[in-house]
């Protein structure tokens, strides 16, 4: 059977009425938990895991996979409406999505997020089918030195994230890197900046920091000004993206999809990083980079496509090697194993119905999500019409639930509150949160990768430059850092002046 024959077989499995029903249930649950900040797909998957024992394996995996990519759709909703990222992967969506909502364009923002996710889903499913085996072995070339080099590259693009002063952005990067060192040191187990607080042993949680910096601080700021002015313009301009929106978004969606997919394949790469990279690329390519952060639809389309693409990408190592790249894929693997299936190199031969059924259901599920999400836009946008003095208490409640639920610990709520205050001060003093969040994601991976590399090389730095992938990343990073000096001396001078 050729690929298309197998795909046809996959669709015949996925389109069975029962499987369609499971797929729908999965994407519905996924959308809902995606909308709730802090509640990640992993929590929902582990709750539903026992239930899947009572259904056939294909249906089980279709249900569970539906939850994981459904959550990526839902994640953007609260980012756009109330500036709380539903998932860490939707942090970047806040930057322009929330601004769009404030200009009465929540509808197009939500719409492009849904369409972008759908297009990314479609593109990457075909990449998964045709490239999975080749790509899996490519991903294995990433050892600690390559991770380190990739993270350096990630850090080097960081300043482009900044909207205002570069110097302020760099200060936030340092602050984020510092926050990343809190907790038990992964190499030796020594506690750093823990001060005997058990809650800090694993470091400050990304989700708590993000909810605090974006959601809580925004509420504080709005409550302060609520008496003077309306927060959101009541007039909502259109519910769907118009022709102009599409023209601007189609490029970002395509680039975000491909980028997200490739970065998603690399095990241990977080789904968060591709969204930042996509945002920066769109900003660099844009004719109007200064507009980013004020409600540019490109800043929503690119990252939202990238996070969906990345979640398909994580299926590559899972299905072809049996390697979980995160909690969600670990649970999917667990579900397969509970049914006696063997995820890994032999899955396609041993259980073709599961493999091809899953692949086809990814496509079916994406279509369902689009149909499910478009009518919801009208409903979501109505939320913005609630007077802010009612809305903000609801937002705060969501923030508290979201930060509590990740570990079911009250200390996390305190951490969130502290970062809410920090975020408020940062906004008052014109420091942006996005560089901080990216540094907090990259920092711990970069440090661990550097130290692992040095253990492996017994202290020699040579391996960063003798390994081709690592060397090329480092050279690219160097070029990125030098490029403003070489090409845009003038602009840099202006930016630096803005920072004074």
């Amino acid at each position: 059977m050729d690929v298309f024959g197998q795909l046809y077989f996959g669709f015949s499995v996925a389109l069975q009425p029962m499987n369609l029903l499971y797929c729908f249930a999965g994407v519905l649950v996924g959308t809902l938990i995606g909308v709730l900040p802090g509640v990640g797909p992993a929590a929902a998957l582990s709750l539903l895991l026992p239930i899947t024992l009572y259904v056939p394996p294909v249906s089980a995996i279709i249900l569970l996979a539906g939850i994981t990519y459904g959550a990526m759709y839902g994640g953007s909703t609260t980012s756009i409406l109330v500036n709380i990222p539903g998932e860490a992967a939707s942090v970047v969506t806040c930057l322009d999505g929330y601004q769009m909502a404030r200009q009465g364009r929540a509808g197009p923002a939500l719409g492009i997020a849904a369409f972008g996710s759908f297009i990314a889903g479609t593109i990457t499913i075909f990449m998964l089918i045709f490239l999975a085996p080749t790509l899996a072995s490519w991903a294995l070339k990433f050892g600690p030195p390559e991770y380190f080099a990739l993270m350096v590259l990630g850090l080097s693009i960081m300043v482009y994230l900044a909207r205002g002063s570069v110097i302020n952005a760099l200060i936030m990067v340092c602050f984020g890197l510092f926050l990343g060192t809190i907790g038990l040191d992964t190499m030796t187990g020594v506690p750093r900046f823990v001060y005997k607080i058990t809650a800090l042993m694993d470091g400050v949680g990304l989700i708590q920091v993000v909810i605090g910096l974006f959601g809580v601080s925004e509420v504080l700021l709005n409550v302060e000004t609520a008496f003077k002015q309306e927060i959101f313009e009541t007039k909502v301009k259109g519910l769907l993206p118009n022709r102009e929106d599409w023209k601007r978004s189609i490029g970002p969606i395509g680039r975000g999809s491909i980028l997200g997919f490739f970065l998603g394949i690399i095990p241990g790469m977080s789904v968060v990083i591709p969204t930042f990279v996509s945002y920066v690329i769109e900003k660099k390519l844009s004719k109007n980079p200064e507009g980013f952060g004020t409600g540019m639809i490109e800043g929503v389309a690119g990252p939202e496509s990238a996070n969906n693409a990345a979640s398909t990408g994580t299926l590559v190592p899972m299905l072809s090697l049996g390697i979980p790249t995160g909690a969600s894929t670990a649970l999917l693997l667990g579900a397969l194993m509970m049914h006696g299936l063997r995820p890994g190199p032999l899955l396609i031969q041993e259980s073709p119905d599961v493999f091809w059924g899953l692949v086809a259901s990814l496509y079916v599920g994406n279509a369902m999500l689009l149909v499910l999400n478009l009518p919801l836009i009208g409903l979501w946008v109505k939320i913005l019409k609630i007077p802010y003095h009612f809305l903000f208490s609801l937002i705060l409640l969501l923030c508290i639930i979201g930060s509590y639920i990740t570990n079911n610990t009250a200390a996390d709520v305190i951490i969130m509150a502290v970062f809410g205050l920090i975020g408020y001060l940062m906004k008052k003093l014109n420091y942006e949160a996005a560089p901080l969040v990216l540094a907090l994601v990259l920092g711990p991976i970069m440090e661990a990768a550097l130290r692992r590399s040095l253990v492996i090389s017994e202290g020699g730095f040579g391996l960063f430059f003798t390994r081709p992938i690592s060397a090329s990343f480092l050279i690219t990073a160097l070029l990125i850092l030098l490029s403003p000096l070489l090409l845009k001396k003038k602009r840099l001078r202006e930016e630096l002046r803005a920072g004074d």
């Binding site: 992993a42 929590a43 998957l45 582990s46 895991l49 026992p50 024992l53 991903a139 294995l140 070339k141 990433f142 050892g143 600690p144 038990l184 040191d185 992964t186 190499m187 030796t188 187990g189 020594v190 506690p191 005997k196 058990t198 809650a199 042993m201 694993d202 095990p267 241990g268 190592p317 090697l321 049996g322 390697i323 979980p324 790249t325 995160g326 909690a327 969600s328 670990a330 649970l331 693997l333 667990g334 194993m337 509970m338 049914h339 006696g340 063997r342 995820p343 890994g344 190199p345 032999l346 899955l347 570990n407 079911n408 610990t409 661990a448 692992r452 253990v455 492996i456 017994e458």
Partner: protein, 329 residues
């Protein structure tokens, strides 16, 4: 109105509460369980312990005759969840499960750990073990434990062994093996087994010690080679792989167990009820079949007292090697 009847009401209430408490104390064990029992899983969703309990949860619930709610309270390598339970009310409605790491290793690594693994915990039962394996990729020239020891002796410190984290059972195993065989293999800590496997397959590390569940499919596909297993006996599905004890390294034969614990002072009748329920569950053919499918878990039922003894013996053994490692408190 409150002022007039307040005193009488308070006396009545007091009597009611006291009599409830008295009757509660004598009847608690017979009535147990009478509501939802919270079982804390001290790790994030998706771990082996998590998947194990959620897949057999319904069977356990049937045998204990109550509703079970599994709650993930992750943090500090399981310490957060265990300390939550150790400090909860010993009424049998808040229990914890998990592998043995937070019980027999974390106390050696975590400063100011908020519980004493001997005094603050009631050990209820042990359910299963994860056997670990020493694994190389199939391209590796190392074909057996003898090869490994010979190579390590000739090249001290050259072999790099990926482990799933500092202060985890695999980390202890490789350190024990270093002492047992008088060799020097360098452990490289990663953040979890999911990171170790691609690094092994990509040849970035020379070997790893990992539980067998995640590598079973790679083994079947011929991508990795198992040199030895850490298990009381050869587990089903791996009849041709020797245990490390068979090769003469008895002290290195460590497998982590999944058990059930509660806070100190848990009434004996409740412990007994759980022991019986767990024992019955672990003997059910359907449960055995489910656990078999999870591949890499082996049912190993032990009563509370035996489980406690085992944890403390392992703890004493690790205590001897940990002060020599960097990072221990």
């Amino acid at each position: 109105m409150y002022n007039r009847t307040g005193k009488g009401m308070r006396v009545m209430l007091f009597v009611a509460v006291v009599s409830l408490m008295l009757s509660g104390a004598s009847q608690a064990a017979q009535d147990y369980p009478k509501g939802t029992i919270q079982i804390v899983i001290p790790f994030a969703p998706g771990g082996s312990t998590d998947i194990f309990w959620r897949s057999i949860g319904d069977f356990v619930a049937n045998n204990i005759g109550g509703t079970l709610a599994f709650v993930n309270k992750a943090g500090a390598g399981g310490v957060s969840g265990i300390s939550f339970v150790a400090n909860s009310k010993p009424d049998g409605y808040t229990l914890a499960t998990g592998n043995s790491d937070p019980l027999n290793i974390s106390p050696l690594f975590t400063p100011d750990i908020p519980y004493d693994n001997e005094k603050d915990i009631t050990y209820i039962a042990k359910t299963a073990i994860f056997p670990f394996a020493i694994i190389v990729r199939s391209e590796s020239p190392i074909k057996s434990i003898e090869d490994l020891v010979a190579f390590a002796k000739a090249n001290p410190g050259k072999l790099k062994c990926g482990v799933a984290g500092v202060g985890t059972t695999p980390h202890m195993i490789i350190e024990m093996f270093n002492r047992d065989a008088k060799i020097e293999i360098t452990p490289v800590p990663f953040s979890g087994g999911g990171e170790v496997v691609p690094n092994l397959l990509g040849g970035h590390i020379d070997l790893t010690v990992l539980s067998i569940a995640p590598i079973k499919s790679l083994y079947a596909a011929g991508k990795v080679r198992l040199l030895a297993l850490m298990a009381p006996k050869r587990p089903a599905g791996f009849p041709q792989i020797p245990t490390i004890a068979e090769k003469g390294y008895k002290a290195s034969n460590i497998a982590t167990g999944i058990g059930l614990i509660g806070p100190k002072g848990l009434p004996q009748p409740i412990v007994k009820k759980w022991e019986d329920a767990v024992e019955k569950t672990m003997k059910e053919p359907k449960v055995i079949a489910t656990v078999d499918k999870l591949e890499g878990l082996v049912i190993d039922y032990k009563r509370g007292e035996e489980y406690k003894k085992e944890i403390l013996v392992e703890y004493a053994a690790f205590k001897k090697i940990v002060p020599t490692l960097s990072g221990a408190k």
